[in-house]
């Protein structure tokens, strides 16, 4: 049990949540990833979150990480994982997209444009920023990534999938 300090502001809680990163992409906070769907503060901090992919194996890890981080700031926290608000790659913030690119992952294009595999054909290479690329596999090393090849860099890269 953590002894609660004074009631924090919503802004403060989001600031703390910025410290919690995606375990697979340590440059991207859960806030920028868009998986935090609601925060309420009463006797404790209640956080609602939703997974990027239903089968994401990192979800429990993220949940525990949130609780630990808030405990560290003297707050008791509870995390509810639900699907009330469905995650989409469009929920990744602009700051998050820049972080993804720096990390070497192509950010996802607008998911509303995604109606056929053809749309996915030319991702922007995170190295050279050009689109002389091809989709090698819509499935990648994690559920949220696809594998591309850059014809200019002559190297493979991964894209955070639009969904």
């Amino acid at each position: 049990m953590v002894k609660s300090m004074s009631k924090p502001s919503l802004e403060k809680v989001y600031q703390w949540l910025e410290e919690v990163k995606d375990p697979e992409i340590p440059v991207l906070s859960l806030v920028d990833l868009g998986v935090i769907t609601n925060v309420t503060i009463s006797d404790k901090v209640r956080i609602e979150m939703t997974p990027t992919f239903v089968g994401c194996p990192a979800i429990d890890y993220m949940k525990n990480d949130i609780i630990e981080t808030l405990n560290k700031h003297g707050q008791e926290a509870e995390v509810d994982i639900n699907f009330k608000k469905s995650w989409s790659s469009d929920l990744i913030s602009e700051k998050g997209k820049i972080a993804l690119k720096k990390f070497g992952l192509a950010p996802p294009p607008d998911s509303k444009l995604f109606t056929d595999l053809e749309i996915l054909e030319n991702a922007e290479c995170p190295r050279c920023s050009k689109t002389n690329t091809e989709l090698r596999n819509p499935f990648g090393p994690t559920l949220c990534r696809a594998i591309f090849y850059c014809n200019d860099c002559k190297e493979a890269f991964e894209q955070f999938k639009p969904v």
């Binding site: 939703t50 239903v54 009330k84 995650w87 989409s88 499935f139 990648g140 559920l143 969904v163």
Partner: protein
């Protein structure tokens, strides 16, 4: 809301996802090419994840926890369709099954986004987006290999004819069909089957594969009421092996 009807629907969907998820995972390390190895492994992870989410809803309705439900039931307590439990066979069969099953699965979740049972409608809205990758994957390969060489076409044709009676078994009617429909939980197997046939026809028409007339195919039923082929129990034995050796193991 009719809880018995709802549970029956959730169990058959969750069991389908778990069993085919397990079959897909058997391709890990054995895919005909690396990309397909990764694709089937990813789809396995998705499907097993979907089953967990569905078993979690069942737990909220009073059923046992997901691990107990997934790992301790015997074959006759499973409600998956026979199609999902058949061994992987060669890649042509796995691909045909993937196409026939995932087409139905995507349509089922699409329909369920309209469900009057809110937790299922919310989950379905999420799963629907993920399944676009699965159906696109299936359609891409069926279109390519269904029009490629004599060998690829002959193999797929043979697998298609073998799989179709099992595929029609996916739409085996529930004893709660009327309750599900009248309560707006699910529009029913018949509606799904009709939508599925149109979609299968549409994709196969873009290949050199021949779809037999629907009325010449006799569905293989029984999966939904626990009457399975000899292939399910060995799969369950393998899936639950660690748990049976050491129920307290962390893995």
């Amino acid at each position: 809301m009719n809880n018995e009807a709802l549970k029956e629907l959730l169990y058959k969907m969750a069991d389908d996802q778990l069993i085919l998820g397990h079959r897909n995972s058997e391709w890990t390390g054995f895919g005909p090419l690396l990309e397909e190895d990764i694709a089937f492994s990813s789809m396995a992870q998705d499907k097993v994840g979907h089953s967990l989410a569905l078993y979690t809803i069942l737990q909220e309705l009073g059923e046992q926890d997901p691990d107990t439900v997934a790992f301790t039931r015997n074959a006759e307590q499973f409600h998956n369709s026979l199609l999902t439990e058949l061994p992987n066979g060669e890649y042509d069969f796995s691909l045909i099954r993937h196409f026939l099953y995932d087409t139905a699965e995507a349509l089922r979740f699409e329909m369920l986004t309209q469900s009057s049972f809110e937790p299922l409608a919310q989950l379905s809205a999420k799963i629907r987006g993920e399944l676009r990758y699965h159906t696109m994957h299936a359609n891409t390969w069926i279109k390519q290999l269904g029009s490629a060489t004599t060998e690829s076409i002959t193999r797929l044709q043979k697998s298609l004819e073998y799989a179709l009676p099992y595929a029609l078994g996916m739409f085996e009617k529930s004893p709660f069909e009327n309750a599900l429909i009248s309560e707006g939980i699910f529009a029913g197997e018949q509606v799904l089957e009709d939508k599925w046939k149109r979609k299968v026809e549409e994709v196969l028409a873009q290949t050199q594969l021949q779809l037999p007339a629907w009325d010449t195919i006799t569905p293989h039923l029984g999966g939904r009421v626990g009457k399975h082929t000899e292939h399910l129990q060995p799969l369950l034995d393998e899936m639950s092996e660690v748990l049976r050796i050491d129920p307290t193991a962390e893995w």
